[in-house]
């Protein structure tokens, strides 16, 4: 779990990892050492205040140089919200996240459809599973060039899609995507906020963290 200056959901994501049966390890943005972890989560928040562009400054942190390198060798990496933005800025994932079409920050419980269950982070779900997890972002509108989108669709790399309403204007209702290998996944919604009935709209988000434990074992 990487903490950048301005990361907010880092402790929440650690809790989610713990509830899924994993052992969370705190990593620091300024430290290039990943301490031998089996997978990396880039949590939500406002790294560097989201100034300039979301994720634009965090992308250059020392820790990201290692993440970029090891992701290329198959290390599972999940970017949630701000983490997704950082992955796009780092070019680990294609496309970009822009200002929500309605120009507001929006927090709501969102229905999603899991479109790809073969990634390191979604193998615990069944194809076409529908889950409810919170979304909360101001710049979550996914955009990419038409040919990139066609490739993403063609290769099954749209991992999650908004169902029942699109909260930010993302093209083709895309909520999350993965790289070619399926080890790097980024999504705007927050599965780590749907891991306990007491505090979340559901426990549907646990699957992301359970998936990677299986992936790490295999």
């Amino acid at each position: 779990m990487v903490t950048f200056p301005g990361s907010l959901d880092d402790r929440d994501a650690q809790r989610a990892v713990r509830l899924a049966g994993g052992e969370p390890v705190a990593l620091w943005h300024g430290d290039a050492d990943l301490r031998g972890v089996d997978a990396v989560v880039l949590p939500g928040g406002f790294s560097y205040g989201d100034y300039l562009r979301c994720g634009a400054i965090a992308r250059f942190a020392p820790v990201m140089q290692t993440v970029i390198e090891l992701a290329g060798h198959g290390l599972p990496v999940l970017g949630i919200c701000n983490g997704f933005q950082i992955l796009c800025e780092s070019h680990l994932l294609p496309g970009a996240l822009t200002r929500n079409a309605h120009l507001h920050f929006r927090n709501r419980d969102q229905r999603l459809r899991i479109e790809n269950t073969s990634t390191a982070w979604t193998n615990a779900y069944q194809p076409a599973d529908e889950i409810v997890v919170p979304v909360k972002n101001g710049e979550g509108c996914f955009v990419a060039a038409p040919d990139v989108l066609d490739r993403l669709e063609g290769e099954g790399r749209v991992v999650v899609r908004y169902a029942d309403g699109n909260p930010n204007g993302s093209v083709r209702d895309i909520a999350g995507i993965c790289n070619e290998r399926g080890n790097v996944v980024g999504l705007m919604p927050h599965p780590e906020h749907a891991v306990e009935t007491l505090t979340g709209p559901s426990t549907d988000g646990l699957g992301f963290f359970a998936s990677v434990l299986t992936a790490a074992v295999s």
């Binding site: 560097y48 205040g49 100034y51 300039l52 400054i57």
Partner: protein
């Protein structure tokens, strides 16, 4: 069609957190020699002729810039 460019900047005495954050990041990226960064907004408008510059200034002043904290420059390009 004539184009009008409006640049909006925070007044110099107002804190510019975005500019400061970028400036702070530069050394980490190995860029030196930049002593200050300020970030503002850049608007490009396409307008019909004839261009009523005075009216456009009102527009910039009331809508594009927040005169409490920002100031603007306006250029009409042919």
């Amino acid at each position: 069609m004539p184009r009008v460019v409006v640049d909006v900047m925070l007044k110099p005495e107002i804190l510019d957190p975005q500019g400061s954050a970028i400036l702070g990041a530069l050394p980490r990226l190995g860029f030196d020699g930049v002593n200050s960064v300020r970030q503002g907004k850049h608007f490009e408008l396409e307008v019909s002729e004839p261009v009523d510059e005075a009216r456009l200034r009102v527009l910039a002043d009331t809508l594009l810039a927040n005169s409490v904290i920002e100031e603007f420059t306006l250029r009409v390009l042919p």
